[in-house]
């Protein structure tokens, strides 16, 4: 894969962040500060402009937001996927070389094989998600007369559970395959470094007690009687 997998996403992030800041404040500031300024943690007053997806169309976006909200809902334990920015993560991450098959063997023939041999189809990750969303929504239209995003939460959960268990018959894709890849990506976004677009304020890391990218625990290897005391650090050096 390319070492620059995240470059388009990062550039995109900067561009979007820049639009949040009045032009006058740009003069004389370095980019890192601009990024920081766009962070709600340091600039709580600045209202977030709604994210404009660049991969998903409106229908796909509605599905993704609704599915994220069911897969990791906001509750007393910790942040929900939507407020964390997971839909934004998906919109960006699915545009990386990784999601476009850069590290998968993609040559045919594409034979059916037992589950022990993994996914043997010809779609890359981005396509699995896009084809899956379309088929899932089509199923909802036929069965319930509405798109997934418009269904009540209990029904959404029921459908996601059916997909997970392989009990949903979708056109053109295995519901199980779609679901497992979607869930994987949602978790990736939820827990990945904030630079990838989600995990806002490192809240998912705080929830589980992960110190992020500190990567030095010499002083704590043999401590037994106290919880690890420090909060998380992210790749940009921010402390949570």
């Amino acid at each position: 894969m390319s070492d620059d997998a995240n470059v388009p996403a990062r550039r995109d992030f900067l561009r979007k962040s820049l639009t949040l800041i009045p032009v006058v404040t740009l003069a004389g500031t370095g980019l890192p500060r601009l990024v920081q300024a766009a962070e709600p943690a340091t600039a709580p007053a600045s209202p977030e402009a709604p994210y404009q997806p660049t991969l998903f169309n409106a229908q796909q976006w509605a599905f993704v937001v609704a599915a994220c909200d069911r897969l990791i809902p906001a509750d007393a334990t910790g942040p929900g996927a939507v407020e964390s920015g997971v839909p934004q993560f998906l919109d960006r991450h699915l545009q990386t070389p990784y999601a476009n098959g850069a590290i998968w063997y993609m040559q045919g023939p594409f034979l059916e094989a037992a589950p022990e041999f993994g996914y043997q189809g010809k779609l890359n990750l981005k396509e699995i998600i896009q084809v899956g969303i379309k088929a899932f929504d089509a199923f909802c239209q036929t069965a319930d007369g509405k798109a997934f995003a418009e269904l009540p939460h209990p029904r959404q959960e029921e459908l996601l559970k059916a997909a997970e268990g392989g009990k949903l018959e979708l056109d053109s894709i295995s519901a199980k395959l779609f679901f497992s890849n979607l869930l994987n990506e949602v978790r990736n976004g939820y827990f990945a470094d904030p630079s990838y677009g989600a995990n806002k304020d490192m809240a998912a890391w705080k929830m589980i007690g992960y110190p992020g990218v500190r990567a030095d625990f010499t002083d704590w290897v043999t401590v037994r009687d106290k919880p690890y005391p420090l909060g998380p650090v992210d790749l940009a050096g921010r402390r949570g």
């Binding site: 990784y98 063997y105 040559q107 022990e116 978790r187 990945a192 990567a215 625990f217 290897v221 690890y228």
Partner: protein, 591 residues
């Protein structure tokens, strides 16, 4: 027509552990060496520099440090009559690419094989009788002994700054080490690393059950160290990004940190990166290699003539190159004839996950790849195989290479995979759970082998390597036996819940789950050219100026990680080349 380069003394294919060792040894002997590496050049700076190296998404999802399967992969099937399908996404094993190979993103568990592992077949026959070995099991003795390799085990550990505690030195038992190990000529270069909680609890549990726990020999330096080549290492800080990641600290032994700093300065050494070797070229009667054909960084097909060809491309790719080039005769499982591809084996890895309450500060994010605690009480001659009912043993260990939430948060079984309950379980478990593993041996069988795939091709138009492998009853029994022993041991620790993943009767090899990159055999060393591709010096029986270095040489796999043995075999072969072959090129063993 291929672009023909000026002839050199030796060509090395692959710049991982074995390639770096051979390059050092052969340039020491005054040879001009050209090494080809299919991937990029890599060094601690800038490739493993903080903070980018600890980006979990890049390291564990985009797999920045691993081979891309888009270019080259293998196909897999369970039986010789089935149609194989490609290994499309990284799962069961994770070959490396780039300078350092898998040796730059390994974990660092650095074992020596036991003396009895070298004579497995004769030992089992002597202890339990000929009929104890299943009909289709094709295990063999190594054509070398522990004593042959002892100086080379020792040297490789000193190159790596391996941190541990000797159990036996010159025949005398040492407290704190493995009492069952082969005798060492001296202590480890560095003492053991400190124990994290899970490793400390392992000592307690193992002792209570009557086992003899000892620190896993770890090539993750426990203190500042200068190796015999003058390369400096710094103490491991338990960064928690060890397995799958390059080391940010010069602490984990790697070709990059421990050998290449010397090699890079040598005039007789040339490293060509982004250069994919396509095949070994043979002379008209196929008895001697004339060099290799490779694609250079610009994609031009070139020929590199050489007197000596060293295949150091990792076990699987060594066998692939032999099959593509006609070095040796391909193995046919129906007739049992041919040797290249024969006796492919793997590793029988299993896990016991344990969950504790909030007072147990397991802190899985604190991690070290090779450190931890293990036991040999169920390995080698300590295990009564007659009673246990299978061939081969294994070890149980506490190992904590470092966890992070993108790599996955384990939750107690029965927890849903998403929704509020999953979230709660993940939040509760992350800091308060750890696992122990059972690493079992894996025998070789008539029907498990490597060959060329008839259908699928790599990005260079060559047939992919095809792996025919499945779990045999013997390994399934071993998995169940050893996991049960581990569960018994874990009960001592009274976790709130625990779960083992022993293989089920009739279960099949699942390529989607990581189970170690210990792919062994396929071009094994032996004393009979009818049943081995290589002689005792890892020299091809058929083409005397080709040496094939790697775990491909193991006739079967034991309960340990392979690299300690792989490094020792590399030094052993290098010594034979320097002391015997260069003086009188030709077969070092008469067939």
């Amino acid at each position: 027509m291929a672009n023909i380069q000026p002839k050199v003394d030796a060509v090395i294919v692959g710049m991982g552990w074995t390639g770096a060792i051979l390059a050092k040894e052969l340039t020491d002997a005054g040879l001009n060496v050209v090494a080809f590496e299919r991937g990029a050049d890599r060094d601690t700076q800038p490739d493993f520099a903080y903070p980018r190296v600890v980006d979990e998404l890049e390291g564990s999802v985009h797999r920045r440090y691993l081979q891309s399967l888009a270019q080259e992969t293998v196909t897999v099937r369970h039986t010789p009559t089935a149609t194989a399908v490609p290994y499309r996404q990284m799962g069961s094993f994770k070959p490396g690419t780039g300078v350092g190979g898998a040796g730059s993103h390994w974990s660092g568990c650095h074992f020596r094989a036991l003396p009895e592992d070298f004579k497995l077949r004769s030992n089992v026959e002597q202890r339990y009788g000929r009929n104890f070995i299943p009909q289709d099991m094709t295990i063999q003795d190594f054509p070398v002994s522990y004593d042959d390799l002892e100086p080379h085990f020792d040297h490789f550990e000193y190159v790596c700054g391996t941190s541990g505690k000797a159990g036996v030195i010159n025949g005398v038992k040492q407290p704190g080490g493995n009492p069952f190990e082969g005798s060492r000529s001296r202590e480890f270069p560095l003492g053991p690393n400190p124990s994290y909680l899970g490793a400390e609890m392992f000592y307690k549990a193992a002792r209570e059950v009557g086992y003899n726990p000892y620190p896993i020999p770890a090539s993750n330096a426990s203190a500042a160290y200068v190796n015999p080549y003058g390369c400096q290492m710094g103490p491991c800080n338990f960064c928690g990004f060890c397995s799958d990641y390059g080391c940010l600290n010069y602490s984990k032994a790697s070709p990059n940190a421990c050998i290449l700093p010397v090699l890079r300065l040598r005039k007789q050494f040339e490293l060509r990166t982004h250069s994919q070797v396509l095949k070994v070229n043979l002379d008209s009667d196929g008895k001697k290699a004339t060099g290799v054909t490779y694609l250079d960084a610009q994609g031009r097909e070139c020929e590199q003539p050489a007197e000596l060809v060293l295949l150091c491309a990792f076990s699987l790719y060594n066998v692939h190159l032999m099959l593509l080039s006609g070095v040796g005769k391909p193995y046919d499982p129906a007739s049992g004839e041919g040797t290249v591809g024969r006796n492919y084996s793997y590793q029988n890895l299993n896990r016991v996950m344990m969950f504790f309450g909030k007072d147990t500060q397991a802190n899985g994010f604190i991690g070290i790849g090779g450190g931890g605690t293990t036991i040999d009480d169920l390995n080698g001659n300590q295990l009564d195989n007659g009673k246990a009912g299978f061939v081969g043993g294994g070890i149980i260990w506490a190992r904590q290479p470092g966890s992070g939430p993108v790599r996955g948060v384990s939750v107690p079984s029965g927890t849903p995979n998403w929704g509020p309950q999953w979230k709660k379980a993940a939040a509760d478990a992350f800091r308060h759970s750890f696992y122990y593993e059972v690493q079992g041996a894996c025998m070789s069988y008539r029907q498990h082998y490597l060959s060329l795939d008839p259908t699928y091709r790599d990005a260079f138009g060559r047939p992919l390597l095809r792996m025919t492998f499945d779990w045999h009853d013997n390994e399934i029994k071993a998995s169940q036996f050893l996991v049960n022993k581990a569960l018994d041991m874990c009960k001592v620790l009274s976790p709130q819940s625990m779960a083992g993943d022993a293989k089920k009767a009739g279960g099949h090899y699942d390529i989607t789950k990581y189970q170690s990159t210990h792919t062994c055999g396929g071009a094994i060393m032996g004393s009979d050219p009818k049943t081995s591709a290589l002689n005792r010096y890892l020299q091809s029986w058929d083409v005397h100026n080709v040496f094939v270095i790697g775990a491909n040489a193991f006739p079967q796999n034991n309960g340990y990680n392979p690299t300690g043995m792989v490094g020792a075999l590399a030094y052993w072969a290098a010594t034979a080349i320097r002391e015997q072959y260069l003086k009188k090129p030709g077969p070092l063993v008469q067939a």
